[in-house]
Assembly symmetry: C2
């Protein structure tokens, strides 16, 4: 697979490559951003950022400071898109929580999404293999994940499904137990053929059943996150990080999960920007550059 | 004049206040952002950021890291809008270089703009007086300016017109000689009744005639800025920073202007983000906090 470079932009001493490529898995053209910091090294660790609902591959690049820190620690960053685009499925662009910009980082099994909504295979297999084959500077054996909101769900679930692929993950205000929150329930009901499949894509259920190598997961959350729906009906809580923590404790991984609360912060980009340094330092430590 | 706080958002330890107010000068409701860092001080210096063409009061807040550095040095920041809004002048929203988002930080004298396109009075008088009266933490006697592109034009001209109001200014890729560039010529022809008024709003002509107190101006520019139109007809150059420097030398202020070139950077937000630290350190030094 080859990439087309639509633009290169200098930034924080390094370079942003704005790329497009044809994805066989997703059956469409996909855009992504690749940040390569200035370096004298021949191989760089790679940090993938998975975006949230309504985001595309540009959103987190434009609105956060991740690559300021990535430049500092000489980590390459990949910002993939959050779903296939323009597949012409009925209702694909009608809701924020299913369809375009809402791929939920899983392989859909229910029609029509099962045709090409295969973000899990795209993120863990097709796209990294293609990138690491073309960009020699990327060390495909030294990779970490992070994600925000729906991307936090992606980062937690893909890490727990494929611990051999990633050194660590961090999650900003993740949807940590989607089978029990409104967004997740709607998306899973749409994407998955049977309810039996739901736990396989739920971070809380994955850590409850996890018996792989020791993990070290950082999750941050603003105490005023609007999607906690504090003071409202508890079933409105979209994130349910407390369920993830309880399941981690239950399966003996409680001390491998760090929760960092930011007093008074909400769900959005000012919160993410504020806590970005801490997340990237966590990743950098596991990638051997901090 | 009173402000309505539409939202407060925690960010980098401080707080963004999203404000609206009724401007008498501009005859419309205006939005702005105010960033107040965490501090134990009772008064904070104030840095105003003037945005460029197509921008509103949110653009530079969302896309740059200014307030990361402002938080560090305990500087409050004001992000005003770039023009009046919805004045119903014919063609107000039709072009990027005149009308809404293109107020050029001057008081228009030609109809219909003369009715309310008075960004100069708004930025140097109405808005600061109103803000400093309401927000005790803002030290209205310790203020600096900065701006990007058209906002760089604003920062340079307002500083040179009112050196008593500002400790310093910095400009990111400014339109430094608008009377000789396409954007500036079009805007000035629209906003100003006679061509005799043009030099009064042109940074190059202002520094050529400047005989106020010693200045210390930082201007940065990416060598691949697309609006330099390198390799094309020289009359397409929108920025003409070299004319500003020549005029400064001519009037004996050559050593009071620092030009910082960034090799390979363009005009947009990645360039601004990359050089933000240096600009804010320049301001912080003059504001006595660096």
């Amino acid at each position: 697979m080859s990439f087309e470079t639509t633009k290169k932009i200098k930034s924080f001493g390094g370079e942003i490559h704005k790329l497009t490529h044809e994805s066989k898995v997703l059956k469409c053209q996909m855009a992504l951003n690749l940040f390569i910091p200035a370096t004298s090294k021949s191989k760089l660790p790679v940090l993938w950022h998975l975006g949230g609902l309504t985001c595309n591959s540009d959103t987190s690049l434009d609105k956060n400071l991740f690559h300021y820190w990535a430049a500092k620690y000489e980590i390459a960053m990949v910002y993939p898109d959050t779903s296939p685009r323009d597949s012409n499925h009925p209702g694909e662009h009608d809701a924020i929580d299913i369809g375009s910009s809402a791929g939920f980082y899983l392989n859909a099994t229910a029609e029509p999404w099962s045709e090409n909504y295969h973000m899990e295979t795209y993120i863990v297999d097709e796209l990294p293999k293609a990138l690491y084959a073309v960009y020699d500077i990327l060390d495909g054996s030294n990779v970490a994940l992070q994600g925000h909101s729906m991307g936090g769900h992606g980062a937690l679930t893909l890490y727990l499904k494929y611990p051999e692929l990633y050194k660590t993950t961090t999650a900003f205000a993740p949807i940590a137990n989607p089978i029990n929150g409104p967004w997740g329930k709607k998306a899973f009901a749409g994407y998955l053929k049977t309810k039996e499949e739901w736990p396989k894509h739920d971070a809380t259920e994955l850590i409850r059943a996890y018996n792989g190598p020791k993990v070290d997961i950082l999750i941050s959350i603003g105490t005023d996150d609007q999607f906690l729906h504090k003071g409202e009906a508890p079933e409105l809580n979209e994130l349910l990080i407390e369920n993830f923590v309880a399941a981690a404790i239950e399966s003996g991984h409680g001390d491998e999960v760090t929760i960092y609360e930011l007093e008074g912060y909400d769900h959005m980009f000012e919160y993410v920007g504020t806590v970005a340094e801490r997340h990237i330092q966590h990743a950098a430590k596991h990638l051997g550059v901090y």
